[in-house]
Symmetry: C2
Subunit: 194 residues, 2 copies
Amino acid sequence: MERRLTQRGRARRTELMTCAARLFSDQGFHSTSVSDIVNTLGVGKGVFYWYFPSKDDLFIEILRGANRDLRRRQQAAIGDEPDPLVRIELGIRATMQWFHEHRSSFTLIQFARTDDRFTDVLAQNQEVAIGDAVRHIKDGIVAGEIADQVPEVLAEAVVGVTERLARTYLLERDEPVTEVADAAVAFCLNGLKG
Amino acid sequence: MERRLTQRGRARRTELMTCAARLFSDQGFHSTSVSDIVNTLGVGKGVFYWYFPSKDDLFIEILRGANRDLRRRQQAAIGDEPDPLVRIELGIRATMQWFHEHRSSFTLIQFARTDDRFTDVLAQNQEVAIGDAVRHIKDGIVAGEIADQVPEVLAEAVVGVTERLARTYLLERDEPVTEVADAAVAFCLNGLKG
DNA sequence: TGGTGCCTTGACCGAGTGGTCGAGATTTCC
DNA sequence: GGAAATCTCGACCACTCGGTCAAGGCACCA
């Protein structure tokens, strides 16, 4: 199924992906037809099926790409910071910033959770994300900075707060990122310290 | 649009709603056709459109019903408990228990968030839920039991933790409700105290 | 017995979908 | 130049869906 692509081909491919991502996020996955996508780009339908085997596959690739990007951003933000609590704080802030800049991805992930065809990809993504957080939390517990609870549960709680505040205040109300991040960090760090 | 219904009619109506809710939650809203619903019940398609003007309307009514039910449950659990922090704890526990018993509703709400046609109903529901929580939090701040932060943000954080832990541990992994509720309560109360 | 609403049926409709394909344009490389 | 590979086109296909409707059944009352 893998195709050999020229440089021009790769450009088209990403063009299709970004265009589709925007449409999916704006109108929803089901309400966006393949025709919508190719019409928006002003190309024929054959173009789409030259680069992607199906609409579902395209969506899955979009999801994977988004996750890869978010994770890179988190790791870059954390760098080699030694203090586990600070690492978590930096992670939360980087995530907020990323959600702010990639609102459409947020919507896409939300949707993917409601459709069995995509839950697998999402589960993989989540596993990685939670794994990252768990590592920092374990370090924090060892260092005595975090309550001695099941690390994974704490990680889920932190992610829950971050996602929820991102949705309500960044996506729905467009409030300043830093303030939202401050609130998330404050709540989470207290929740973790116990 | 309101119909006069006999007792038998009302029964059919709820029969349709519960059947549809189960199918929507199992296979997704889009993947469940009106034909699926009526076939499952072994009736003709006309029956559906006798009781509901459209598939969307049915879904909206299901959402409203679910929310009404959850709120009743929360209020019953809280009763006339005077301590704001305890009220919040009771609310979280009641919510967990309800999600545990109404898994399908959880999935439905998740989906509704991703479709513009339903975001209005959901927004109304959310407003009420957050409003309830905010009241308790304000009381807690006045009593000096809760950090002096914007009450609404704290409420959103609490809801975020509760929803996330419910999804991961109740829906996906089927862990014991009490333990999940304990974890949510512990994290949230610490987060609130500041 | 006949009439009046409530309820049920399922064939049918138009719209729209994801996906195919043969034909042709364009680029690449010898 | 010309062959091969990459890419583009859009009519077309098979199918599904939400929703309609003329027709008929059924319960109850006069």
